[in-house]
């Protein structure tokens, strides 16, 4: 919460606010958060969200393991992260309070459902004494609401059963918080009607409770004032909310259309990538073929087959799944077929922290295969950026006949932000070059040469069904030009060099590396992927304090933009900040011999802006 001005009539003006809804997995916190986000977006704020699921489907009620959280950051200025500190925590049970209270800013609002602070509830959360009664929360503004009781009362005439009634209490909280932040109820009411249309008892109950919650805010006198967060000055246009996984799915569909191809997505469910499969399977009318394979190996292999047969082939997974795809990815490199491999990174190693975010698969994307096996790696930086980056992955894979690994992460995959809906008519077609016929020089006898390259070293794509271009490819080393199996030493060296060069040449077909901030200076903060928002915000802050700090966000991780080495040299110091143990830093050190400093965090959580800011200041002070 950066700025605050008190207006008359107890309405406090804020530039931005961070609210976290937390409760048991069954308490509907994700829904509450999503609805509040939706309203704020429609209202015109900039938003950024961070849902945080437990690993279990439904851990035992009331336990710490079962706590589900949803953080929303909304503001009247541009936002790039879901917020460092929580201004308002809505905690639906003791476990939720315990797990989240540390993130609340001192003096922040803590709204709890006091009805769920019974003895057993407290015990399940491991409280020795009741925090609502001892003075452990004295640093916060504690608001105790009897949400369960009030919900029951509100619905005493409802035909719903006890359980169903109890399930409505999240709408009480939503109503209350909507009142507190001056959000309209209409969008929620509308949604309730759409969603529960077939079940009017439920719709009525939820709507009634929502209104009761709202009214309760007005009348209860707990709150000194309400808050106002004005509309953000966003670039004019049409907006929607989008999560990273949805944006990736849309990006693939666009990629296929822009290339005039069918889309094939072969995948095996895995958290947090499954939603891309779910999303794509709803777009069959776009000629999207989704294939839920028997495992990740079958998923990528089916995609390679679909690519061979002429579809725009994509496959998606998360860390452990990418490990399984390594061998087949080598086949795609060897056969030089287009293929996009999406990896929604999660906490590792091994099964690790399946529902948490991390950036520790860069090495795996770059090197997780046998032999010298170069391919393209690019990463998206925010939920909405997944759209553009997915299209870019499709473009590169089709134009250069090389597999592309597209990295996102659990944080941006599940997080949401407003998205200025792009203009379809402005989008550039993807130019796919197909083999046009027998390409052997002179006598037609030689037949089709599948490894005869163009000046970008790209081989021709001849699609089964095309008469006269029959050819055979495979994983053995092949003779250049003919593609025949070949074991000769000089040919192998040539092909190793050629495959590397083909990928390196893609640097000619991507933008140069840009920085935000001064072109040279004291410090360059380098990052990649989903940490963009935190790094950008931290750099903005220190720059606003007059410091000569620039931000270099690398989207193209292999090959690097051609000017990257030069960019790195223009600053006295370089800091690489990553949610891993320093993988990009390692690659930059090796590539450019730059003595970059490191900020690393491996906690299953994104950076706080303040963590980055502190590190920047520490480096500048040295």
């Amino acid at each position: 919460m950066t700025t605050q001005t008190k207006t008359a009539k107890g309405v406090e003006q804020r530039t931005d606010v961070t609210i976290r809804f937390a409760g048991d997995s069954g308490d509907g916190m994700q829904l509450t958060g999503t609805q509040f986000t939706r309203t704020s977006a429609i209202f015109g704020n900039d938003i950024s969200t961070f849902p945080d699921f437990p690993a279990e489907i439904r851990a035992p009620a009331g336990t710490l393991a079962g706590v589900s959280g949803f953080q929303v950051h909304f503001g009247s200025e541009e936002l790039h992260t879901p917020g460092d500190e929580v201004d308002t925590l809505v905690a639906f049970n003791p476990a939720a309070l315990k797990k989240n209270i540390e993130d609340v800013v001192k003096g922040g609002l803590v709204i709890v459902n006091e009805d769920s602070f019974g003895k057993t509830d407290l015990k399940k959360a491991g409280f020795e004494s009741n925090p609502l009664e001892d003075d452990s929360l004295s640093q916060y503004r504690l608001i105790k609401i009897p949400a369960t009781k009030l919900t029951k009362e509100a619905l005493k005439d409802s035909p719903l059963g006890t359980k169903a009634v109890d399930r409505c209490k999240n709408f009480f909280a939503l109503g209350l918080v909507s009142w507190l932040y001056g959000r309209p109820l209409e969008p929620v009411v509308e949604w309730i009607e759409r969603k529960f249309g077939k079940n009017p008892d439920v719709a009525n109950a939820n709507r009634d409770v929502l209104r009761v919650g709202h009214a309760y805010g007005e009348t209860c006198e707990y709150f000194e004032n309400t808050y106002q967060v004005n509309k953000a000055k966003l670039t004019p246009g049409k907006y929607r909310r989008i999560s990273g996984n949805d944006a990736t799915a849309l990006g693939f569909i666009f990629g296929a259309r822009l290339a005039e191809k069918d889309l094939f997505y072969g995948s095996y469910p895995i958290t947090p990538a499954s939603d891309v499969l779910h999303a794509l399977s709803r777009y069959k009318h776009f000629r999207v073929k989704t294939f839920q394979a028997e495992d990740e190996i079958a998923a990528i292999c089916s995609s390679i087959g679909a690519s061979f047969a002429g579809d725009l082939a994509t496959t998606g997974t998360s860390g452990p799944g990418l490990a399984l795809k390594g061998e087949a990815l080598g086949l795609a490199v060897m056969t030089e077929l287009p293929l996009v491999v999406l990896n929604v990174q999660r906490g590792g190693p091994s099964t690790g922290l399946p529902t948490k975010t991390e950036q520790a698969d860069l090495f795996q994307a770059m090197y997780g295969r046998n032999g010298e096996c170069p391919l393209v790696v690019i990463a998206a930086c925010s939920p909405s950026d997944c759209f553009a980056t997915a299209i870019e992955a499709c473009r590169i894979t089709l134009e250069h006949m090389t597999p592309v690994v597209l990295l996102t992460d659990g944080f941006i995959a599940n997080g949401e932000e407003p998205w200025a809906i792009p203009d379809v008519s402005q989008m550039k077609k993807i130019d796919v070059k197909y083999a046009e016929g027998v390409n052997s020089n002179g006598n037609g006898e030689g037949g089709f040469l599948p490894y005869k390259r163009d000046d970008r070293l790209v081989r021709p794509w001849a699609i089964p069904g095309t008469a006269g271009l029959q050819h055979r490819i495979g994983g053995l080393e092949k003779q250049d030009i003919t593609g025949n199996v070949n074991y000769e030493p000089a040919n192998h060296q040539h092909m190793i060099d050629t495959r590397a060069k083909k990928v390196a040449l893609i640097a000619d077909n991507i933008p140069e590396q840009a920085v935000e901030g001064p072109d040279e200076g004291d410090l360059l903060v380098v990052g990649w992927g989903g940490t963009y928002g935190a790094l950008k915000s931290a750099c903005d802050r220190v720059r606003s304090q007059g410091k000569k700090v620039a931000h270099c966000h690398i989207r193209y991780l292999n090959p690097f933009p051609k000017n990257l080495g030069d960019v790195l040299k223009r600053y006295k110091k370089v800091l690489v900040a990553e949610l891993n143990c320093g993988q990009l830093r390692f690659i930059l050190r090796a590539t450019y011999l730059v003595d970059a400093a490191a900020l690393n965090k491996v906690q299953g959580k994104p950076f706080l802006i303040s963590e980055v800011e502190n590190k920047i200041n520490e480096l500048l002070a040295k």
């Binding site: 049409k238 087959g305 379809v424 008469a467 029959q470």
Partner: protein, 339 residues
Amino acid sequence: MSTEALPQLTAKDFASDQEIRWCPGCGDYAILAQVKKIMPDLGIPREKIVFVSGIGCSSRFPYYMNTYGFHTIHGRAPALATGVKVANPELTVFVVTGDGDGLSIGGNHLIHAIRRNLDVNILLFNNRIYGLTKGQYSPTSELGKKTKSTPMGSVDNPLHPLSIAIGAEASFVARTVDRNVQHMAAMIKRAAEHRGTAFIEIYQNCNIFNDGAFLFATEKEQKDDTTLYLEHGKPMIFGKDGDKGIRLNGLEPEIVSLKDGNMKEDDLLFHDEKLGEPSLAYLLSRMRYPEFPEPMGVLRCVDQPLFEQGVHKQINDAVKAKGPGKLEDILLEGDTWDV
């Protein structure tokens, strides 16, 4: 599909320009010859045919066919073929695999391709050995087999390709042997004609590492007594002079003599490829030399929905219901607002 008359092709037209690199005497040659021979009969232009294989001696097959071909990685051919077929159901797809490639590392993809009933033809060259890696035992090697990796004999109970295929809901299952070229050609043709996953086990001699594994089924003197050539609707008769038959005793098959006249053809088990439930096919898959003659031919051939057809039907239905997707529309899904 064009309606022009196709040029009349011959087996030779299906040969690629690549030198064949199997050991002299390998059973793979005979299979290649028969596949090339039946190709023109299928009436499918070469460019609409794709051979997909894994890794192994057998998996070199695609290199020798003048069709589209993909020599993939070990065990994954059925998965890759699934992608080919879903992307373009108009292609005719053959999967060539070995007992190691298809049943060891690739067993899972094999059973999943089979249960999905993808319209592909899977030719499993069963030589009961790993040829390409020079002679380790395979999942179809008989118990006690001495190989490089089992100097004291293998202790793994083998898998039976036909049983596992039937256990995996196969719609077409057949067996043939490299030395019976006419039968082999007929089986491959039947497989190609079948709509759905056609699984053929081909007994193939590896004369370098497992020579003579199928002599019982190929040697003149004995083969008539040790194999049972199945014909749909016909009683199960075998033996040099057609003097033996298979009868059902409860659920157990038994060999009976037709010589002494006590037993008539009508008492025998009649073959029926088309049974809805595969219990007969399964029972046949259990008949093994030396206790029984080994069934050759089509054990099962039934119509079942095709996987790729299901996929494409949903796409077409969706297009019909919602119209061909417009990019503008999906951008506007959910709530939108103007700034």
